[in-house]
Subunit: 286 residues, 2 copies
């Protein structure tokens, strides 16, 4: 189904926003653990007013044992072609994209040497992390608006091209908190080839090998699988019409649960340790 | 699966709250159409301060052609045994339960002669309508709290005994507007024998024969079918844990769509006219 999955050596940590910064810090600890003794770049490009963002993350990651934390701030697109900026990404173990506006990230960085360098870091085994807007940009198609506390309308949804670090997936963040099930269902209805991945706040999906997902943090991640959809009105309905979509398969995953994008199967692993796990046998009966 | 479905001669009109009272009035018109030349009782028992509720509905229903609209207001439980109140329900074509607190409706009316009379009206072919709290009470198990704009926690959910006019279903209202997917999934996880039915505002589900659902109005109705669930953590997780539930089948139904509770199959009918329709053939392939 998703036959264009991107196998990769690197790891993605896709955070639904508002990761805990004062308590258990489960997610930031996981980032720090994976960075180990390496260098972490924090990109604040998503924010129009990045002042303070970096300093907060720098302090947090240093407290968690990361030795070198540096800021990558791009205020104008031409800076993304800057040699000095590019050299900041030499020998980097990981990149962390902060929140803001996903269109800022892609419009400033898309098709620049910096962007190519992020791809390289990932391909070579690095860790790419993003929270909120920084999470959305990781898929090839990203949500850019269509937020709603009411019924999803066919005309509400806007999508745009993302970074494509993870293929075959459309990511949404602040998921339960902002009532985004409707818009994710709408996105999947438009093309069930894409799996919808909704991530709650203070919750992250860790992707290894481009295919294996694992959930960490306090909330849930929702996988909307449209492979079995028998009907939807996205093509025929008028823009003010409510969505109709039949026979969606839905996974609600909490900490420890996993999901295999290739098999489209959930895995219930309890509090798993690292590494690829077998899907549950009894999850294959549908 | 839901082998205790209640076949019935009557009709239920289950409204997700905030039905349009000034524009097209699709839902109130449907109520009025089905009442025809009969008598409609509006019960304001759900509200602690019912003043004004009745007058508004009376005016609306009269404008829509209902000739006789009378108020049933129960402020104390002993009134539900009152002969005069009971006689108000003689020769009634339908009952409309307004919004408020579902626990008020069931605690004031449960196991009273009035309650038995509602059952009789339904069994004999009458129309029972309810909006918001008045919708929730129609199922045998009803939601009483657990509202949430964040991840559903296992300890959040509270349910209670409803009227049982429709069996095998747990109803939730103000659905997309109040982000209630989490709590409905939690309820279904507790016992997948029940189908979860979430109804948006200004949207109604019309139930005929106790089995055939049809959606009218502006928003969507969501059917959460847990028959194929392969795993959930409701029994083992601690109360603060996020819900995990795998392999839920989800239907998002808009105006004209239908659903068969017995077959657990959606029907896509376009703008249907009255009457029982065949399920889509291609919906049966899962």
């Amino acid at each position: 189904m998703t036959n264009d999955l991107r196998t990769a050596k690197g790891t993605l940590i896709i955070i639904g926003g508002h990761e805990d910064k004062t308590g258990k810090k489960t997610i930031l600890k996981e980032v720090a653990r994976r960075i180990g003794k390496g260098k972490l770049v924090v990109s604040t490009v998503a924010s129009h007013r990045p002042d303070g963002y970096f300093e907060q993350y720098e302090r947090l990651f240093r407290d968690l044992g990361v030795r070198e934390v540096i800021e990558l701030d791009i205020r104008e697109r031409q800076e993304a072609r800057d040699e000095a900026k590019l050299r900041m990404l030499d020998d980097v173990a990981g990149v962390f994209f902060s929140g803001g506006d996903q269109r800022r990230i892609t419009s400033q960085l898309g098709d620049t040497p910096l962007y190519s360098r992020f791809q390289e870091i990932y391909d070579e085994g690095g860790v790419i992390c993003g929270t909120s807007a920084g999470a959305s940009v990781m898929s090839d198609v990203m949500m850019v608006s269509g937020d709603s506390d009411e019924s999803y309308r066919l005309g509400d949804l806007q999508m745009g091209p993302g970074f494509g670090l993870i293929r075959g997936v459309i990511i949404d963040q602040h998921f339960a908190e902002r009532g985004r099930m409707g818009r994710l269902l709408g996105a999947v209805a438009q093309n069930p080839r894409y799996i919808g991945l909704g991530i709650d706040e203070n919750t992250a999906v860790v992707v290894e090998g481009g295919v294996q997902l694992r959930v960490i943090g306090e909330g849930a991640a929702y996988v909307v699988d449209g492979a079995g959809v028998s009907y939807s009105n996205v093509a025929e309905g008028h823009l003010k019409a409510a969505l109709s979509i039949h026979d969606v398969r839905l996974q609600v995953l909490n900490e420890g649960d996993g999901y295999d994008l290739g098999l489209r199967l959930p895995m219930s692993l309890g509090k798993v340790e690292e590494g690829v796990q077998e899907p549950r046998k009894d999850a294959a009966n549908d």
